[in-house]
């Protein structure tokens, strides 16, 4: 099956031509155009700017993607596009473009939830794809961690999921971002915190691990955020040198990691998971990966631990295309031909709300 994937939910424009079936996946062409530099001087994302940039980028990127894949529109079997969640102005560019292509090319179109993309993102590799279709891979516990989401799902197959828990306040990526802001680190702050943490002592400050010992699978990071703030405020601004900042970053990062790993492992035990999946922007965090690998090897060596390749941790169209393709087990229901007539971008579409 040949799938055109489109992703414009935030500040990255991405398109893909993915050739896939149950046996094999082949990424024919993937383009990702990031707007991070554009928004950096503003210290945050500007929806108008993002939308305008998506609009400028999308057709040239589409042409580039089709040319790279050596694919003509007639060969496409399915158009998939991120319908939500995300920034409404950005989402609309992708959705309206996809609808137009669907109508013009007479091709079926499917709106995909961005989070479903993160859930399947670890399988975007030949070796891991073979795992996806084995019964012995499932059930899986999937942790999705990004700036906007922190959720745990129980997955019984690639297209079957149930929400076990989520954040009650801040997402973990957001917490990283806000700690960076407190420390006056440049945008985007999350990766900066992880980088400085390498120089720091993770045990220096005793920070809370919210909800870690409580039953259930919900998370809470706003209390951790405030604890970091109070810790920082004990030091006058002039006393906040490199060492202090590194120690705060390391201690905060460790507290966040402890909670994420703790809850995930607990779920893996309760639901007798054969696989643990970690996806979303924060899954690129090297410390998180290392510690997950160590603890799974020690405590549940038979469990598969799957992370996406780094280029698939952030927003990208490949995960969207794959999620769309597996939704109907690589079949294309006839009703999807006219689907463009009913589709609207939905900024607050939660995966667990379906």
């Amino acid at each position: 099956m040949i799938i055109l994937g489109i992703e414009t939910s935030c500040d990255e424009t991405s398109l893909v031509i993915l050739k896939a079936n149950k046996a094999k996946i082949d990424l024919k062409a993937l383009t990702i155009s990031s707007q991070t530099k554009l928004h950096a001087p503003w210290g945050g994302v500007v929806p108008e700017l993002a939308a305008r940039q998506h609009t400028e980028n999308i057709i040239p990127l589409l042409q580039e993607t089709l040319a790279k894949a050596k694919i003509k529109p007639a060969q496409i079997d399915l158009i998939t596009v991120t319908q939500g969640p995300g920034l409404i102005t950005a989402l609309q560019v992708g959705v309206e473009t996809a609808k137009t292509l669907s109508a013009a090319w007479q091709k079926p179109i499917l709106g995909v939830n961005h989070i479903a993309g993160h859930l399947v993102s670890p399988f975007l590799s030949s070796s891991r794809w073979t795992l996806a279709n084995k019964k012995t891979t499932w059930p899986a516990i999937a942790l999705v961690v990004s700036g906007g989401h922190t959720e745990i799902y129980l997955m019984r197959s690639l297209n079957n999921w149930k929400l076990l828990g989520k954040t009650l306040d801040d997402a973990v990526g957001e917490a990283f971002d806000k700690v960076a802001r407190m420390l006056n680190l440049p945008y985007p702050g999350g990766p900066q915190v992880a980088k400085l943490a390498q120089q720091g002592d993770a045990k220096y400050f005793d920070l809370p691990r919210p909800l870690l010992k409580k039953p259930g699978y919900d998370f809470s990071f706003s209390g951790l955020k405030t604890a970091v703030l109070y810790t920082l405020q004990k030091y006058k601004p002039v006393a906040r040198g490199e060492e202090l900042v590194a120690n705060i970053c390391a201690s905060f990062q460790q507290a966040a990691i402890d909670v994420l790993i703790g809850k995930t492992l607990k779920a893996a035990v309760e639901f007798k998971a054969r696989t643990i999946i970690v996806g979303g922007g924060v899954s690129a965090n090297q410390k998180l990966r290392q510690q997950f690998q160590k603890i799974v090897k020690e405590k549940m060596p038979k469990v598969n631990l799957l992370f996406p390749d780094l280029k698939f941790t952030g927003d990208n169209a490949a995960m969207v295309a794959l999620a769309g393709a597996v939704q109907n087990n690589f079949k294309v229901p006839k009703k999807l031909i006219n689907n463009w007539q009913h589709m609207q971008a939905n900024a607050n579409w939660e995966l667990w709300d379906d």
Binding site: G86, G148, D169, G173, K178, L229
Partner: protein, 154 residues
């Protein structure tokens, strides 16, 4: 507590539950069409307050931080109020309201709009400002609100 709400415009909450309760109480005085500006630094209690406000409006869903999504809309079935729009301008540089699609919601008599980090944008004239300040005691917060709120209560 309700009497106090009407006659004074500041309070010290002793912990986050108390901040939440304040939000719940203030919700009772809303009728639809109000715009609330929640002003305060990181960890000052803006979202906590809003959790309480949402509870007071009968919203069952968990109110989470909209920092990355910018706007979240929650359906409401109380009096004439049909929705609560929760906005977060933390990631936005100084902007006009139109740029984030707020115009549709402002001044709609069936909508309550609550904006965190509202100091970054140009607000409509009837906005009720609620300020959250950290206290020497880390659990407490000093919360003040615009006299517009007291006026409308009467």
């Amino acid at each position: 507590m309700n009497k106090k709400l009407k006659t004074q415009n500041n309070i010290i909450t002793k912990n986050s539950k108390a901040t939440e309760n304040l939000g719940q109480l203030m919700a009772k005085e809303l009728n639809g069409g109000e715009t609330l500006a929640l002003l305060g630094n990181l960890g000052a209690g803006k979202t906590t307050f809003l959790k309480g406000l949402a509870k007071g409006l009968g919203i069952k869903q968990t109110i989470t931080s909209p920092t990355f999504v910018l706007i979240k809309v929650y359906p409401v079935k109380k009096k004439n109020i049909k929705q609560l729009v929760h906005v977060d301008c933390y990631r936005l540089p100084a902007l006009e309201l139109m740029a984030i699609g707020l115009n549709d919601y402002l001044n709609d008599p069936h909508t309550i709009v609550a904006i965190e980090w509202a100091n970054k944008i140009k607000l409509p004239p009837k906005t009720i400002a609620i300020k959250f300040l950290h206290h020497k005691n880390p659990n407490q917060r000093t919360i003040t609100w615009s006299k517009k709120f007291n006026k409308k209560v009467y």
